[in-house]
Symmetry: C2
Subunit: 120 residues, 2 copies
């Protein structure tokens, strides 16, 4: 396991897929993003997250949660609500958010056992 990958929890669990284009000028964003990661990690039901942002400010963060109750609690967290509003009003040009139930997960170590098998 390479550092930085969210651990593979046992399905089913929830993925929140957040894709966002930052504005060219987004003062305060980086510090708030770091704070939100620390806050999320302290939430009940948090399982990990993966995040990547390209040089043009387009980023994807996928956070993983035990169940929908954990997602709902995080969504209503007071500091997170404030961050969501700042993100909407100041930092993000546009974003999309999807809530999904993970049914299967594996990693590169599973390749030899998996490749060519059917089932999607």
């Amino acid at each position: 396991m390479t550092a930085g990958f969210a651990p593979l929890a046992t399905p089913p669990y929830i993925a929140v897929i957040f894709a966002a284009q930052l504005k060219q000028d987004a003062p305060g964003y980086a510090a708030m993003a770091d704070h939100m990661v620390a806050l999320a990690q302290a939430q009940t039901g948090y399982l990990g997250h993966d995040s990547a942002r390209d040089a043009d400010g387009f980023g994807i963060t996928v956070s993983y949660w035990r169940d929908l109750d954990a997602v709902a609690s995080w969504r209503r967290n007071a500091e997170h609500l404030m961050a969501q509003k700042l993100g909407h009003d100041r930092w993000y040009e546009h974003y999309t958010l999807r809530v999904a139930e993970v049914t299967r997960s594996y990693d590169s170590h599973d390749f030899d056992a998996r490749i060519g098998k059917d089932g999607g």
Copy 2:
């Protein structure tokens, strides 16, 4: 809608969440990645994808599909199988892949109607 975002399809649909760390030297990767995008776009049931890669070569690609049959067909595509093998053997230090069913999705235009509502 900002260019580059996958359109918001009507749930339910499938998200394939692929996170990968590229090796420092990954010759041929970029051309193959472009070709795979073109090939995926021609598949039945392809709904779009979002992709971001940071300066250290850690990237997330989320592709969206109408149903699991579409995912299975894409997974078994002959050229895609070859690309998967090259990715495993040559290009990726490590990767994780998750298959998930999207149950809700929205974007920044929905913010005012959504924020503070319950339901996760």
